[in-house]
């Protein structure tokens, strides 16, 4: 049995997943710093712009780590991820455009629109993954 080869594949998957987790946490921390830094720690526009630039750069690192993690998955796992992402994209677009239409007609002026959208994206993605895993069980 080629258990060593598969151990390498599993180790690679674990490694790429760990890296993705680390970069994601780093990105969240940089986002918190960029958001709350100007409120709590400094008044400088330059520092605020720098913090945002760092957040964007770390975000790019997250994208690369995510791509590498997806590549480390086997074909069924990749298919489940792709279907979950497709569902998330579709639902997000539908809800966002519906909200825009309602807002233009009724001046909804809802607060924290982006946060609500991120919540919808997160929940839809998780549901998509769960549905995918169940479909192929």
């Amino acid at each position: 049995m080629k258990s060593t080869q598969n151990a390498n594949w599993q180790q690679q998957q674990r490694s790429s997943t760990t890296k993705l987790a680390i970069w994601t946490v780093t990105w969240l921390l940089s986002l918190a710093l960029a958001t709350f830094g100007p409120m709590m720690f400094w008044q400088s526009t330059g520092l605020s712009l720098t913090a945002t630039a760092v957040n964007v750069l770390v975000g790019i690192a997250v994208l690369i780590a995510n791509r590498n993690q997806l590549r480390s998955l086997d074909e069924l796992q990749q298919k489940i991820q792709l279907e979950a992402m497709g569902l998330t994209l579709g639902i997000t677009i539908i809800i966002a455009l519906a909200y825009t239409t309602l807002d233009s007609q009724f001046q909804l002026n809802a607060k924290d629109t982006i946060s609500n959208l991120m919540f919808i994206i997160g929940i839809t993605y998780i549901i998509g993954l769960l549905l995918g895993r169940r479909k192929y069980q």
Partner: protein, 67 residues
């Protein structure tokens, strides 16, 4: 697509995990293929054929042949 993976695996007394290890995929993938819920890619099918020392068509059968 129908396949004989389960039969070939049983002949060698392998678990799904053993077969997954040999083909560098997850046990979930092997389970889905055996149940006919997922069709493997051509490279994976060739890999399975090499592993079992059979032709691809001896392991995987196109369902449309019976339509």
């Amino acid at each position: 697509m129908k396949n004989r993976l389960k039969v070939l695996r049983a002949e060698r007394d392998w678990t799904q995990a053993d077969l997954a290890n040999a083909l560098d995929v997850s046990r979930q993938t092997i389970n889905a293929i055996e149940k006919g819920k997922f069709d493997p890619s051509l490279p994976l099918a060739f890999k399975a054929a090499r592993l079992f020392k059979r032709k691809i068509e001896d392991i995987f059968t196109d369902q449309s042949e019976f339509d």
